[in-house]
């Protein structure tokens, strides 16, 4: 008998555990916390389940407990007791499931252990409904900003559809602060006031409304995610922004237009052109300077003399050629290493100058040569040096026999200062405060350091000669070499001199081309 009962109980236990065990366990666990009664009962579906905790450790479990129930003053009926082991808390509960539980009537349930009443409770079954969570929870985008549509299905019940209330909980993803909305009967809800373009989690649970049926809150559903729509620009803000932008544009436009000339001058300055100085050159003669000059001979010339005051290079001072035979060797030797270097910067040239100036005998020798030259102007071809504090351009001249020496002597110090540009056959010379040379040729020494070539054409001496154009604006000197072809051209022209004392050219320049004008110094220059 006992074995049979045990077997029945064991089989029933297995059946319970296999089918509704999980649901039962979760509900039992929850009620263990919430319900204070000794016998805790709940209705799942249409069946009432009552359970109680195991008191103490017992060897024999089930057959000790007896569960009876009665209603409407009818006789007591027994229920089969089963046990359930809770995995989480490692407890054991005994429970009994009443088949065909009558509703809307007072039930009296009792638990006996060893013919001794342990617990007793009277209750109405319809007041202890423990429903399953709602099903099919869906969260969709409602199409409007900050809204979500939430819908679900109620638990499968009869006669209770209109007696249920729901609680919807929603929170931003990652946040635990949620809001709760209670909704009666309806299984749909629109969540309002949400942030746009945010992911939300939504849960729902259900409970009888408490009028006809009462019960416990069901478990929460699994969270369902929904994303709100990205926010649109408020049309009012867009309109305001556009309006303000338009006003700003108009203001800036007005400012720009009123000061446009000033702004234009600052941002886009005119490139200075010499057109206004050459009236008609580019418009009538299409840039042909020769023609323009020939057309505008007399009038323009006088005018342009004054115009080019500061722009023209200053005249050159041509010195007589000086041969350095006396000290040639010594100088050559000294200057050899110097010559080998190529300099391009004036700093190095300055250092060379100072090097040479450290030679006292050189200066002394210069003075002697000067005196000699003054006494004997015919001996211009002789080596003589002029001492002058002005800048000089030395012109290399030399016969073929002397060419090597002279070129070597004369050009060495100057080559160290300046390099030739372009043609290597030429040796250009630039002003050198240290060494002074004088070009040969007819001419006489003037008061200090200039000599004149009145009505004398400068004969081109071939490749041995080098000529240089000097532009002295009073601030800086600009040297440019002249090619041999240029020199040949020059030879055809007349040369003019001017005084050393800063006289303005009194002569007219019948030749076309750029002429050299004296600014601060005086010298003669070639005119081409």
């Amino acid at each position: 008998m006992r074995n049979d009962r045990l077997k029945i109980v064991f089989v029933l236990c297995l059946a319970f555990v296999s089918t509704g065990g999980q649901h039962l366990e979760s509900k039992v666990v929850q009620l263990l916390q919430d319900e204070a009664e000794d016998i805790k009962c709940f209705v799942e579906g249409k069946d009432l389940t009552c359970f109680w905790e195991e008191e103490e450790e017992r060897n024999n479990l089930h057959d000790q407990y007896t569960f009876t129930y009665s209603y409407e003053n009818k006789k007591k009926m027994a229920c089969v007791v089963s046990s359930l082991s809770l995995l989480a808390s490692n407890k054991t509960v005994f429970f009994c499931k009443l088949p065909k539980t009558p509703f809307f009537t007072t039930l009296v349930v009792q638990v006996y252990r060893d013919a001794q009443m342990l617990y007793s409770r009277s209750l109405n079954a319809e007041n202890f409904l423990f429903l399953d969570p709602p099903r099919n929870l869906t969260v969709t985008n409602s199409g409007k900003e900050g809204q979500l549509n939430v819908s679900w299905l109620p638990p499968p019940l009869k006669y209770m559809d209109d007696s249920l209330i729901y609680e919807v909980r929603y929170a931003m993803e990652g946040s635990n602060m949620g809001k709760v909305e209670v909704i009666k009967v309806s299984t749909m809800l629109v969540l309002l006031g949400l942030q746009s373009d945010t992911r939300y989690k939504v849960w729902v649970r259900v409970k009888p409304d408490g009028v006809a049926y009462k019960g416990y809150w069901s478990a929460w559903t699994e969270p369902v995610f929904g994303v709100t729509q990205p926010g649109d620009m408020d049309p009012l803000i867009v309109v305001l922004v556009l309006f303000i932008g338009l006003i700003l544009c108009l203001l800036s436009l007005t400012v720009i237009l009123s000061h446009h000339k000033f702004l234009l001058k600052k941002l886009w300055p005119d490139i200075p052109t010499p057109e206004h100085k050459f009236p008609g050159l580019f418009t009538v003669y299409k840039g042909d300077f020769k023609e323009w000059m020939s057309q505008n001979n007399g009038s323009i010339w006088g005018r342009s003399v004054h115009v080019y005051a500061e722009e023209l290079p200053s005249p050159l001072e041509v010195l007589s050629e000086v041969s350095l035979t006396g000290h040639a060797t010594s100088q050559r030797e000294e200057r050899k290493p110097v010559e080998e270097e190529e300099e391009k910067e004036s700093e190095r040239s300055d250092s060379r100058l100072t090097d040479r100036w450290r030679e006292p005998p050189h200066a002394h020798w210069l003075m002697e040569q000067l005196r000699a030259l003054q006494d004997n102007p015919e001996s211009l071809s002789q080596s003589s040096l002029l001492q002058s504090h002005d800048t000089y351009v030395t012109l290399n001249q030399g016969d073929n026999e002397r060419q090597d020496d002279d070129v070597f002597e004369e050009t060495v110090p100057l080559q160290t200062l300046f390099t030739t540009a372009g043609t290597s056959s030429l040796s250009t010379s630039r002003s050198d405060l240290g060494s002074l040379q004088q070009s040969s040729g007819s001419g006489r020494l003037s008061s200090q350091s200039s000599f004149e070539y009145p009505n004398h054409t400068w004969p081109p001496k071939g490749p041995g000669y080098a000529y240089m154009a000097v532009a002295d604006s009073g601030v800086s000197m600009d040297y440019s070499p002249m090619s041999s072809s240029r020199i040949a051209e020059l030879g055809k022209h007349r040369m003019y001199t001017n005084d050393y004392k800063n006289d303005i050219f009194p002569h007219k320049w019948p030749l076309s081309g750029q002429h050299i004008k004296s600014g601060s110094g005086s010298c003669t220059g070639t005119v081409w």
Binding site: K46, Y71, E72, N73, K100, P102, F103, F104, T105, T106, N124, E126, K158, Y159, D162, V211, A212, Y213
Partner: protein, 202 residues
């Protein structure tokens, strides 16, 4: 001389007779109309009315619990059975359900009236009176649903026999609990499943 008086008397009699006949005929027409008229009552399907009654029945239970003095005497009342076995209930047809509900309501009405006689506590008496009027309203609602139930009106009658469908309670609190259970159970199930209301909803 005599004939004129006789003639006037006869005329008076004739006129009164004709008037009477006309009146009777009119009355008969009205009675006939009254008997044969189709009930123009619209079915009351909103369960919120019933929920309101249920809440008021629960209020009387609460007041009963807090009543001190003059709260009635121990007396036996015959009340309907309130238990609902859903399996059984679903197998019962609507007519049977309606009869059951109607009978139960009448029983409750009787019991409540009997109880009120013994109650001197004024709050309790007022809520009991409220409950009685609610039960009458429920009768009207059932009538509006046209459930073909027995047209026996709810009449206070002590001589209702105890049948299998009744139970006996011995105190007013139990009576009130029975009332509450009955309204929430059988009455509600019937009203929610009434065919007239189903037609309206669908």
């Amino acid at each position: 001389m005599g004939s004129v008086a006789e003639r006037s008397k006869a005329l008076d009699l004739g006129s009164s007779l004709s008037g009477g006949v006309g009146l009777v005929s009119v009355l008969m027409v009205f009675v006939w109309l009254g008997e044969n008229q189709v009930s123009p009552l619209r079915p009351i399907c909103d369960l919120r009315v019933l929920d309101h009654f249920v809440r008021e029945a629960r209020d009387s239970e609460v007041i009963m619990r807090g009543c001190r003095g003059g709260c009635g005497v121990m007396k036996s009342y015959f009340v309907p059975l309130t238990s609902v076995d859903f399996a059984v209930w679903e197998h019962t047809d609507v007519h049977g359900q309606a009869v059951e509900v109607q009978t139960g309501l009448s029983l409750l009405d009787q019991a409540l009236n009997n109880a009120m006689k013994t109650v001197s506590n004024s709050p309790l008496a007022s809520v009991l009176e409220n409950n009685i009027s609610n039960i009458h309203s429920l009768g009207q609602i059932l009538h509006s649903l046209d459930l073909q139930q027995a047209r026996s009106t709810v009449l206070p009658d002590d001589s209702v026999p105890a049948s299998a469908q009744t139970q006996e309670v011995s105190s007013l609190p139990e009576l009130l609990q029975v009332q509450s259970s009955f309204l929430r159970g059988k009455v509600r199930l019937l009203l929610s499943a009434a065919p007239a209301c189903q037609r309206q909803n669908s």
